[in-house]
Amino acid sequence: MHAVEDGCVVYVPARDQVHFLNATAMCVLELCDGAHGVDTIRRELEALAGGELGFDLRSGILDQFEQAGIVTAHVTQDGS
């Protein structure tokens, strides 16, 4: 992951592809550390944003991350 001030570029070596992430998506990716579940990530983002997210975290970002090979989904301790 190569960051700039308002986003980052993620390189996926297995696919030899790059993906351009805005600040919100970069923040989500940083929380995708294997310890945070979807619900926890949502709560942390809402705390950062100071209100409810205006988009569906799973379909709006996480599913795209998974389809792009940026993250791999697995069940966390909180079950999400």
């Binding site: 001030e5 980052c8 570029v9």
Partner: protein, 291 residues
Amino acid sequence: MSIAATDALHFSVRGLGVTLSADPPSLLGPLSHLAVHARDDEPVVRELRFTLSIAGPDKLRVREDDAADAREVCCIEAALTGIAQRISTRALALYADKTCLHGASMSIDGRPALFVGARGSGKTTLMLRLLLDGAAFHGDEYVLTGADGMAHSLPRVLHVKPGTLERLPAVAEACRGKPRLQLRWDNDFYPLDPTDLGHDWRSVDARPAAIFFLTPAFDAPPAIEPMAQIDMVRELMQQVIGIDQTIGRQARDVCALVRGTPCFGLRVGDLDATAARVCETLRALPTASAG
């Protein structure tokens, strides 16, 4: 850079020593349009030699180095275009550890800036306008960058399109008598060296004070707006030249270049007004360190 004219032309392009020779010597005249007069501090690490000769009534022969096989071309324009491309290719090969971007660079009041945009966005015409206004010209086509985020200009003669001549009479005067060349993927152009206009030309290594992304809107007023760095990274990734490197390394280098650098979207409108806006924007920024 140094040039000596005897029976051959010699110059250097950031570490690549180039010798152009001709048989008969009268062919040196056309070859002189390819000479790059940009100064730099790089020691020559590789030599490249081209010999242009007559192969027949309607044929010229171009021999690179001392290769046994030579290329035959139909006319002087084809010979010059081919040699110019080979010089750039060989010079770029010296910097295989860098990411090469299609972009221009020049400094205004000591502030180096990069200008990128698709072909036809008005980059060369704007560079020439700024050059005539006293900006320090570094390069019009190639910018090399690496993990350190420095921008290194690699010189190539300016490719001046016929449409530019109508807008800049001084450039038209300098292009008078020059051959009109054409690349496969580009429009006709005149090869112009900034020194033809009486201006110095120096390659530099510097952190840019700003990066401008050009979009053409020649009938509209110019506009400069701050641009998100991630959007600039995306645009710059479209301007990477060469496919030898991994895209991951290109992303690393481009991000290093953009990180911490003010980025602007530049709508290129009226030429004089656009140049004025660029100067005004750059002068409002702190100076960057140039090498």
